[in-house]
C-alpha cells in the first residue's frame, strides 16, 4: 500500500517590505545585507492574517487539489508553527472547524522552531500509514518574529503550506518513498515563554546547527533509500535566508537547477515552519510524473526531517486547480513602508 500526499496548497500574503526599507530605518548597510543574506524582500502578514488564517487558506487549497476528499473524512489535523496566536488554546481547532473537519478528528499544535511544519507532515503521514485514519492534514504556518533592528528582522516573513496525506491510490499526487529525521540538543536559537522575540547564537546558528543537521539528515535519507543527488528532479531545504539553502544544497551535491523552483527565500523571506514546506509546494507546482523530490527541513534546537516523494501521474492534473506558489510570490504584491510594517506586526505601543 502506498501512502502519499493527495492534496497540497500554499498561502503567501500579498504584502511585502523591501530589505532597503528596513535597513534605512536602522542605518544599516542594505547592500551588504543583500549580498550577505541574498535577500531582496519579504512577505508581511496583513491585519487579518495570522498563523490560523493562513493555515486555513492553505488547507482549503489542499482540499481543492485533493480530488474531492470529504473534509469530514480527515481524521487528524496538525498545525506546526512558532507563532500560534494563543499560548493556551490550539490553532488546530480553529483550522479544523473552518475546514469542516470537526468533530471526529485528532487535532494538535506543534512547535519545533522552523521544522514544526515537516513535523506535522510526518505525524499525518505516520497516522495514515498506521491505518489509524483515512486522511490526515499536516500544516506549517508562521508569522515569524524577529526583534526590531536584529539581523532576523530582514528575513522573518509569513506564509503557510498544507498537505493532506492518504492511502487512496487514485488520489495520491506524491508518494512518500522514505522519511528520515536527525536530531540533537543544539541550542542555536530560542524564545523563552513571555519573551516577545527569539534570540539566536549568531554564527553558531550556521555550521553546528543548520549545516550539520541538514547535511546529516539529507545524506542519511539518500543513503538509506539508495538514491544519489542526481536521481532527484528537485530538492528543497530550509531557507532562513537566500544564502544557506544554496550552500547546503551544493555541499550535498545538488545543482542550482534542482533547487531553483523551491528556493523562494530571496523574495519571500523566512517563513519559519512554512519555509521548506512552501518550497515543496512550489516544486510540486512544476513537477512531472515520476519526478523524485527531496525536502529537508531544519528546526533550531535542533533537528531536520527529510522526505523523499515520487510524483504520480495525477500531479499534472491538480497543479492548476489552486493558486501556484510562485504566482503568489511574484504577483499582486503590495509594498509597505516600515511604519505600516511596524503597525501590522504589532510593533507600535498603542494607547490603553
Amino acid at each position: 500500500m502506498s501512502i502519499g500526499i493527495v492534496g497540497y496548497g500554499s498561502f503567501i500574503p500579498r504584502r511585502r517590505i523591501k530589505l532597503e526599507e528596513i535597513a534605512k530605518v536602522w542605518g544599516a548597510d542594505a547592500a551588504s545585507y543583500k549580498r550577505g543574506l541574498q535577500l531582496h524582500e519579504k512577505s508581511v502578514p496583513g491585519k487579518d492574517e495570522d498563523t490560523i488564517t493562513m493555515a486555513v487558506e492553505a488547507g482549503r487549497r489542499a482540499l481543492v487539489r485533493s480530488g474531492g476528499v470529504n473534509p469530514s473524512a480527515i481524521g487528524a489535523v496538525y498545525v506546526g508553527s512558532e507563532s500560534h496566536p494563543y499560548a493556551v488554546k490550539p490553532s488546530g481547532t480553529v483550522v479544523a472547524e473552518a475546514l469542516g473537519i470537526t468533530p471526529e478528528a485528532h487535532v494538535g499544535d506543534l512547535e519545533f522552531a522552523c521544522k514544526a511544519g515537516t513535523e506535522s507532515m510526518y505525524l499525518a503521514y505516520s497516522l495514515v500509514k498506521a491505518g489509524e485514519v483515512g486522511y490526515a492534514l499536516g500544516i506549517g504556518a508562521d508569522t515569524s518574529q524577529g526583534a526590531p533592528g536584529d539581523a532576523l528582522e530582514y528575513s522573518t516573513a509569513a506564509g503557510a503550506a498544507a498537505f493532506i496525506f492518504g492511502s487512496d491510490e487514485e488520489r495520491i499526487v506524491a508518494e512518500v518513498v522514505a522519511t528520515y529525521s536527525w536530531t540533537t540538543d543544539t541550542p542555536d536559537f530560542w524564545r523563552r515563554s513571555q519573551m516577545h522575540y527569539p534570540r539566536h547564537g549568531s554564527r553558531y546558528t550556521g555550521e553546528p546547527a543548520y549545516f550539520r543537521h541538514i547535511t546529516s539528515s539529507a545524506a542519511g535519507i539518500m543513503e538509506r533509500a539508495g538514491f544519489k543527488p542526481e536521481d532527484f528532479a528537485f530538492a528543497v531545504f530550509h531557507q532562513p535566508n537566500g544564502k544557506f539553502p544554496v550552500r547546503v544544497g551544493k555541499r550535498l551535491g545538488f545543482t542550482t537547477k534542482q533547487m531553483e523552483p523551491g528556493w523562494l527565500s530571496p523574495w519571500l523571506g523566512n517563513t519559519y515552519s512554512g519555509a521548506s514546506p512552501i518550497g515543496l509546494t512550489a516544486s510540486f507546482d512544476v513537477a512531472k510524473p515520476g519526478d523524485l523530490i527531496l525536502i529537508t527541513s531544519f528546526g533550531s534546537g535542533a533537528g531536520s526531517d527529510s522526505f523523499i516523494f515520487r510524483m504520480t501521474d495525477r500531479i499534472t492534473a491538480v497543479q492548476a486547480l489552486a493558486p501556484l506558489t510562485r504566482m503568489q510570490l511574484d504577483n499582486d504584491k503590495i509594498y509597505v513602508d516600515y511604519g505600516t510594517y511596524a503597525k501590522l506586526r504589532g510593533k507600535i505601543r498603542m494607547g490603553e
Partner: protein
Amino acid sequence: MREVAIIGVGMIDWGELWGKSLREIWAEAALAALDDAGIDRVDLITVGCMSPGLFVGQEHLASLLADEIGMAGVASTRVESACASGSLAFRAGFAEVAAGLSDLVLVTGVEKMTDVDGADATYALGTAADQELEGFHGITFPGLYAMMARVHMAHHGTTSRQLAAVAAKNHANGLLNPHAQYHMRVSIDDVLGSTMVADPLHLLDCSPITDGAAAVVLAPLDKAKDHVGNRTVVKVAGSGLATDTIALANREDLARLRAVELAAERAYVMAGRRPSDIHVAEVHDCFTIAEIMATEALGFFEPGEGGPAAERGLTALGDRLPINPSGGLKSKGHPVGATGVAQIAEITLQLLGKAGQRQVEGARVGLTQNMGGSGGSSTVHILEAV
C-alpha cells in the same frame, strides 16, 4: 642574568571551536609544546588570558589549567594586559628563567571567545579601553582604531587602499598557515567593498573573534642543548615592555603608538640590535591601521611610510621585511590572550627554518610586537637563532 632559550613550541588549529572548552584547547597547545620540548615536568606555568571571567565565566585559571594537565602542585600564574596578555606571560616566564628562579617554564596563552554572542564579546573586549573616559560613552575598539586611522590619514596621507593592502597580504600569508582561522584569498577591492564598520575601517580591516591557544617552553640557554641536542635553538635576545595612556584623549599624537616605540627601544637596546637587523616580524594587526602604525613605531619605516610600504609589497613574503608571515591576527585569528604567545611560536619556527610554505629564507633574527587595547600597553621581543 642568564640567557634564555625557547626549546618547545605548541600551536593548534584556531577558529570557532564550539565543540571544545577553554581548558581543552589550552591543554592541546600546552601538551604540544611539552612534547616538542621532550619534557613532562616544568617549574612554572604562566598563562596569558585577557578575560576568561567575561568570556566563559571562569577565573583562577592558573591553578585550573595546571591541574588540567596533571600538574597540580606546580607554580602557576595568570598574567593580564588585555590583548598583550600572551606576550606578558612570555616576558614573565623569561624573567623567571633569566633570574634563576625557574629552569623550565611553560608559557601559554589562551582565549575562548565564541561561547558568548557578538554583543557580549564586544563588551568583554571593550573593557580593555578606558571605561570611564571611553567605553561608558559608547565607543568600541573599531571606533577607537578608526579615530587613529583618521588622524594617521590626515597627518600622513595614508589611504584606505594602503590599509586594505595589509589585509590582502596577511590573508595571502594565512593561506600558507594550516593553523589559521580564515583561509581565504582577499583582494584590496574585497576589503574596500566589505561592510563599513567604523569609517574608514571596513569589516575586512578588522581581525576576527577566535578561540585559540598557543604555548612555548623556556629553558636556560646553557641547558637548552640538554633538551634539544645540537639542533639550532632560539634565544630571547631582547624583551621590552611599555605602557601608554589607555584613553586616546590623553595622548599627544594619535598617529603614533608611544608604547610600541618605548618597548621597541628597550628590546633593541637589550639585544644590541637595530630595526635593520630584523629579518622577519610578527606585529599586532588587530586592525590594518595597527600594523601600519606598528611598523613605523618599530622603526622599520619612517612615520607615514608604513602605508606606502604595505601597498608596495615591501612587507610581503619574499620582499624586504616580511611582516606577519603567519597571517597575523587578521587571518590566523585573534584569541586575545593567545596572540602574543602565538607570535613567539611563529618567529621561533621561522628562525628554526620550520615554517613550511611561509618560511622566510635565511631568517636568523626576528621580532614580535604585541599590544593591549588601543596601544595602552605593548611588548616587543627580539629572538635570535643560535
